[in-house]
């Protein structure tokens, strides 16, 4: 009995930080699904299992639902078994599984609508679908009853969706699943879904493959309580599991298959030393493994560049990052003047230099203790409050980004009036 175990496709998910590229990010996942089905066919898998959260929500648009069904229909030789998860629970009319086309799917597509055992290639899928978004009940409990019904009749693979019940690592109402749920129910394998990182429990019998297409920059991190070697980093790409159950009672053979098409890379750039910074970025972004068209990049800009450096950096970044699939530039720089500019400013425009000092002091203060500051630079709190009030502003709303913007505005306007 051999099958592909996938989970957490989250089709139709939101990407708020990517603006107009969000649609492109969503469009990647159906393509990844198609490739994974092709892999299942290539592996001659007996089944393609989705252990919950095929869709991000029960109310995704019909066009997406039909697109996914069309994908499954394109692979009639790959039996598909879908378990409703906590994002797309079987919660009655209106949910995806009660609407066309999944309400009456083709013969090779099975939606687990209730806890039941389903024969597959001499073995059994024992499924415990979710019917609600939250529940304190362990969904794997139903699997033990099902396992008794089919005892001694080939390998048994459970399918369900929930949080591994690691102490302090899960919410009590997030469908907690016992860490030895597979052994407890007498299963040869438990296909689990919910978390988006590769996780292995219960001596290798309980696997959570994570999302097939990564959706964030955070690298995978072994969960606390997991046995050494069981849980590994999700790596740069998404995964599914190729599972082979040779016989009832035999240990499962689980092979991670990389499926993700996009890499999510986060880089830092320290702008003041622009030449060195650019060299490092070029090295990272232009290496042999560089694949901008399939990379989602987050570049965090730091430091206190002067306007000249900043403009040079912006120009270079516009050219260098243009080819990336999607990118986020997280600007945490603090606009500054060059040494020469600062000296000239202090000499020729003492009042403006004083204003810049005020901004520096204020920004430093905001970065530290914000409660009841005694003064900001030479300004007293009362003066700061009064100055802000002149234009109906509240100084307490002046956060770090405000001061950064203020410095940038000041530098740019200063350059405008002096040019």
């Amino acid at each position: 009995m051999k099958f592909i175990h996938s989970a957490d496709w989250q089709l139709g998910a939101r990407f708020s930080n990517f603006g107009e590229r969000a649609e492109a990010l969503r469009a990647v996942r159906p393509a990844t699904l198609r490739r994974t089905l092709e892999r299942a066919r290539a592996e001659a898998a007996d089944a393609f299992v989705v252990a919950g959260d095929l869709f991000e929500d029960n109310q995704v648009e019909d066009s997406l639902v039909r697109e996914v069904m069309a994908l499954f229909e394109a692979f009639p030789d790959v039996p598909v078994f879908i378990l409703p998860g906590n994002h797309d629970p079987l919660c009655g009319p209106g949910c995806i599984w009660e609407r066309p086309p999944f309400r009456e799917p083709p013969a090779h597509v099975t939606v687990f609508r209730e806890p039941r055992a389903c024969p597959v290639a001499g073995g059994w899928f024992l499924a415990a679908p979710l019917t609600q978004k939250k529940s304190p009940r362990d969904p794997s409990l139903a699997l033990a009853d099902l396992a008794r019904e089919v005892a001694g009749a080939g390998p048994r693979a459970g399918v369900t969706h929930g949080s591994p019940a690691i102490e302090s690592k899960h919410q009590p109402d997030d469908h907690p699943v016992h860490l030895e749920a597979a052994s407890r129910a007498g299963l040869d394998y438990l296909a689990l879904g919910h978390w988006h990182r590769w996780q292995v429990f219960d001596g290798g019998r309980m696997v959570m493959p994570g999302t097939p297409e990564p959706d964030g920059f955070d690298p995978g991190r072994p969960p606390e309580g997991a046995a050494p070697g069981e849980a590994g980093s999700a790596g740069p790409r998404g995964r599914v599991a190729l599972v082979d159950l040779p016989a009832a009672g035999a240990p499962p053979k689980v092979t991670p298959l990389e499926t993700g098409s996009l890499r999510w890379i986060a880089l830092d750039a320290d702008l003041p030393d622009w030449d060195a910074c650019r060299a490092r970025l070029e090295e990272k972004l232009s290496g042999p493994d560089a694949d901008p068209e399939h990379t989602v990049l987050r570049l965090t800009l730091r430091g206190a560049p002067d306007l000249r450096v900043r403009e040079a950096a912006d120009a270079w970044l516009d050219r260098a990052l243009g080819a990336y699939f999607a990118r986020i530039v997280d600007d945490r720089t603090v606009p500054a003047l060059s040494e020469a500019e600062a000296t000239a400013l202090r000499r020729e425009h003492a009042v403006i230099a004083r204003v810049m000092d005020d901004l520096e002091a204020a920004a430093a203060l905001v970065g530290g203790r914000r409660d009841d500051p005694p003064s900001v630079g030479g300004l007293t709190l009362k003066q700061l409050e009064a100055l802000a009030a002149e234009r109906k502003q509240d100084w307490r709303e002046f956060d770090e980004s405000f001061w950064r913007t203020a410095r940038e505005v000041l530098h740019r306007e200063l350059r405008e009036v002096t040019s």
């Binding site: 929500d57 009042v351 204003v355 306007e413």
Partner: protein, 908 residues
């Protein structure tokens, strides 16, 4: 630059050449009367220093002597501290310019023409205008150091190069145009999105973004609400589905229960009908048995009643007989008593007739007595009325007037008398008041010599017709004569009074007032008599209102007496018996009558009692007869009943019939018990239970169907809503909102930061100026204090170095415009002095004061002189004044000396 000498020729009033004395580096006083050319001298020097020699503007032409077209010539010697220069310039006709520098005692030509002008301008620190003549703003420091006569008491602005240099020098900080531009640019950035009071600017980019954001958020809220509704519906659907499942089970269970109870109730109904039939048969058997028992009992009871009836009939007949005998005795006694009563009644009637005759005669006697009394009274009254009428006739002949009017007439008569007396004494009236009690004498033709006693302090009047002689003891004789005017007045008043009195007397029917008074006295007497008479008649009348009432009463009593006499005559009774005898007989009759009436009443009471007894006896007798008859009838009925019963049961008789009915009852009872044993225990409750179960099944079915329909409707809605892709819409909206929010946030942040920066920059600029202004304000305040003698006041400047006010602090100071003209002049002098002192640190400066302290009082003038002498140690001062007395004893006096034409210097 300081001035050393000025020469003019063909300039305004100086047609011939004039020259000043050499100017001292300190204080110089040029005193002259008005229009003698003091100001012209300085103005021409300024034109020479700052205007091009080739200029032909009106300002240059104004230098020409009036009515000529001569070319004005001006020579100015000046030094910049190290070197001495001489500028010779001629305008308009044969215009030219030459600049010399002193070299030992010789003048070396430095430049000519335009070069000379440019070099001079550099040395004087002036500027050239684009066209036309120069204006004060082109005169370098002289713009601030030359207080012109016609200049208003205000400080010129600090614009231009010289102004900037002065400000920079004074405040030790150069005005930073970059900071100003930056502030303006930042303010502009702020105002792109916000109004001056911090509101989001309508139609601005931030306003547009906010609007878009609000629209997106509204749409998102709608979509999210739709999602939430669907999720709630899904949750409710699960709950309702479970409830529907429970209801379906209940529906089936209640239907089964109803069917079971319907069958059980049907069987129980059949069994119960059989029981009811047997119960009916048993009841009929029982009825028959009871009927036989009732008949046996009835016969026994009838026979017993027949015996008792017989005894009662005999007793009733004996009672009827006894009562009839008593009745006859009562009737006899009643007849006797009624007879005796009628005899007593006749005796009473006779006695009453006799008593009425006696009483009539008594009333006649009383009527006669009363009539006699009233007739006597009437006679008395008629006599008094006759007397009263006689007096009333007398009174009618006398006048009728009130006491008030009589008193008025009396006063009028008195006035006439007085007037006559006064008329007799008209023209002479003397009032004498003695200081002490005195005696004096008067002598008049009317009264002759009379003595008078005078009380001290009181006046005494004396009058006479024509002549009055007063003899005063120890003093002599005074003779007083009168005129006629008073006589005429008194006579006229007398005539008027007489006419009035005569008219009043005529009206009253008399001619003399004395007759009137006599008549009035007589009338008063008669009025008193009449009153007494009327009072007497009233007393006599007593209870009668009037004599007529009395006469009417007499007539009525006479008529009544006549009627009584007629009655007595008709009764044929005696008339004229003694009333006392009559009264005694009347009392005797009364006693007899009362005795007879009591006897008659006793007889009537006895007869009444006998009648009641007779009535009671009749009733009792009737009852006894009725009872006897009823008993006789009952005996006949009982006899008939016994006969009928014997005929009904025939030969077998009553006992045989009873045995047969008993057997039939026992058999029916046994059949009923058997049928009851076959009925279920609660067979009576089964129909009710069956009905309840049917109703419950119906209700459960209806509830189930209703819920099922609602669930189907909900399912339809959920399917419809589920296919709307609400989550996908929400995702896209949230992504758009995040973009717009970031955009709006950045815009708001940038504009807000620009606004705050502009505010902060303005604040720092103000702070910088305030910091550098403080020493200047301090210096100015000291100098102003020295000038005015009021050192407690401070002078305050604004950021443009304009005087804002004078006082103890910046906020409460007196504004410059509100100061007096003198104070403003002194303050401006102090400011010019401060400017000159500061500028003199770098090169010598000249301060020109052209009649600017004309409003300074003498006390302050001395302080001004002290101040100028002190200032002159570091600054050259040229005072032009038409008040030489104010500057006596200070500085160097300048005079204008005529010079020959060739000595003025003629530029080549």
């Amino acid at each position: 630059m300081i001035l050393r000498r000025i020469r003019l020729s063909r300039v305004a009033c100086f047609l011939e050449g004039v020259e000043t004395d050499p100017l001292d580096p300190g204080l110089n006083i040029l005193a002259a009367n008005n229009e003698e050319g003091k100001s012209t001298l300085v103005r021409a020097a300024a034109r020479a220093l700052f205007d091009r020699y080739s200029g032909k503007s009106q300002e240059i032409r104004n230098l020409q002597p009036a009515g000529t077209d001569l070319g004005p010539r001006v020579t100015v010697e000046f030094s910049n501290g190290r070197e001495v220069f001489r500028l010779e310039k001629q305008f308009l006709q044969s215009a030219g310019s030459r600049l010399y520098r002193k070299n030992n005692d010789k003048w070396d030509l430095l430049a000519e023409g335009d070069k000379a002008d440019r070099r001079t301008l550099e040395l004087a620190g002036g500027e050239q205008p684009g066209a036309g003549a120069t204006k004060p703003q082109h005169w370098g420091f002289l713009r601030y150091l030359w207080a012109r006569q016609e200049e208003p008491a205000a400080w010129p602005s600090w614009d231009g190069n010289a102004g900037g240099r002065v400000r920079a020098t004074l405040a030790r900080v150069e005005v930073d145009p970059v900071a100003d531009s930056l502030e303006a640019a930042l303010t502009g950035r702020f105002h792109e999105c916000f109004t001056p009071n911090g509101q989001v600017k309508r139609n601005g980019p931030l306003h547009a973004l906010t609007g878009e954001l609000e629209a997106l958020e509204a749409e998102l809220a709608e979509v999210a609400a739709g999602r939430l509704r669907l999720e709630e519906q899904q949750e409710a659907f699960g709950r309702l589905s479970e409830e529907l499942r429970v209801l379906r089970g209940e529906k089936e269970r209640t239907r089964e229960e109803a069917d079971r109870l319907i069958e059980a109730a049907r069987r129980a109904e059949s069994a119960s009908r059989e029981v009811r039939t047997l119960q009916k048969a048993l009841a009929e058997a029982d009825e028959r048995l009871q009927a036989v028992d009732r008949d046996a009992e009835k016969r026994k009871r009838t026979e017993s009643e027949q015996a008792a009836n017989r005894e009662k009939t005999e007793a009733a007949e004996a009672r009827v007989e006894r009562l009839q005998r008593i009745r006859r005795e009562l009737e006899e006694r009643l007849a006797r008593v009624e007879r005796e009563g009628r005899g007593v009644e006749q005796a009473v009637r006779r006695l009453k007739a006799e008593q009425a005759g006696v009483q009539l005669r008594l009333r006649i006697a009383a009527a006669r007595e009363s009539l006699a009394e009233k007739k006597e009274l009437l006679e008395k009254i008629e006599a008094r009325e006759a007397e009263l009428q006689a007096k009333e006739r007398d009174r009618a002949g006398l006048p009728r007037l009130s006491g008030k009017r009589l008193e008025a007439l009396r006063a009028l008569a008195g006035e006439i008398r007085d007037l006559k007396n006064r008329l007799a004494a008209a023209g002479l009236a003397v009032s004498v008041t003695a200081a002490q009690d005195r005696t004096m004498e008067t002598d008049t033709p009317e009264e002759g010599r009379r003595s008078h006693r005078l009380e001290g302090g009181k006046s005494a009047d004396f009058a006479a017709a024509r002549e009055l002689v007063v003899h005063l003891p120890e003093w002599g004789r005074i003779e007083i004569r009168s005129g006629a005017a008073e006589v005429r007045e008194k006579q006229q008043a007398l005539e008027t009074a007489k006419e009035n009195l005569a008219a009043a007397l005529r009206e009253l029917g008399t001619e003399r007032f004395e007759d009137l008074e006599v008549a009035c006295a007589r009338a008063r007497e008669l009025d008193a008599d009449l009153k007494n008479l009327r009072q007497g008649i009233g007393d006599v009348l007593g209870r009668f209102g009037s004599a007529d009432d009395l006469r009417r009463t007499v007539r009525e009593e006479e008529a009544a007496l006549g009627k009584l006499l007629e009655s007595n005559a008709a009764g044929d009774g005696p008339d004229g018996c003694d009333p006392d005898e009559l009264r005694r007989r009347d009392r005797e009759n009364e006693r007899k009558r009362q005795s007879l009436e009591e006897e008659h009443a006793a007889k009537q009471r006895e007869a009444e009692q006998l009648r009641r007894d007779l009535t009671a006896n009749s009733r009792e007798c009737g009852e006894a007869e009725g009872e006897r008859n009823r008993l006789r009838t009952a005996a006949v009925v009982l006899e008939t009943r016994l006969k009928e019963m014997a005929e009904r049961y025939g030969d077998g008789g009553l006992e045989e019939a009873r045995r047969r009915a008993g057997r039939e009852f026992v058999q029916a009872e046994a059949r009923l018990e058997e049928a009851k044993r076959l009925l279920p225990e609660d067979w009576e409750a089964l129909p009710g239970r069956r009905d309840r179960a049917v109703k419950a099944a119906s209700e459960a079915g209806a509830e189930h169907d209703r819920r099922r329909e609602a669930l189907l409707r909900m399912e339809g809605e959920m399917r419809q809503r589920g296919s709307e892709g609400l989550y996908s819409r929400e995702v896209r909206l949230r992504e758009k909102i995040a973009l717009k929010r970031e955009e709006a946030g950045a815009l708001r942040r940038r504009s807000g930061a620009a606004g705050f920066l502009a505010t902060l920059l303005g604040f720092r600029k103000r702070e910088a100026f305030e910091r550098v202004l403080a020493p200047l304000e301090e210096q100015l305040s000291v100098q102003f204090g020295e000038l005015t003698g009021r050192r407690e006041r401070r002078v305050f400047l604004d950021e443009n170095l304009q005087v804002t006010g004078v006082g103890r602090d910046r906020e409460s100071g007196i504004p410059f415009e509100s100061l007096s003209q003198g104070a403003r002049e002194q303050l401006l002098l102090a400011l010019r002095a401060a400017v000159a002192l500061e500028l003199a640190e770098e090169e010598p400066q000249v301060l020109i004061l052209d009649d600017v302290l004309v409003n300074t009082d003498p006390t302050r003038q001395q302080r001004v002189l002290d101040f100028l002498e002190s200032l002159a140690r570091r600054v050259q001062i040229l005072v032009l004044t038409c008040h030489p007395d104010r500057y006596r004893g200070v500085g160097q006096r300048l005079a204008l000396h005529p010079v020959r034409e060739d000595e003025t210097g003629t530029p080549g």
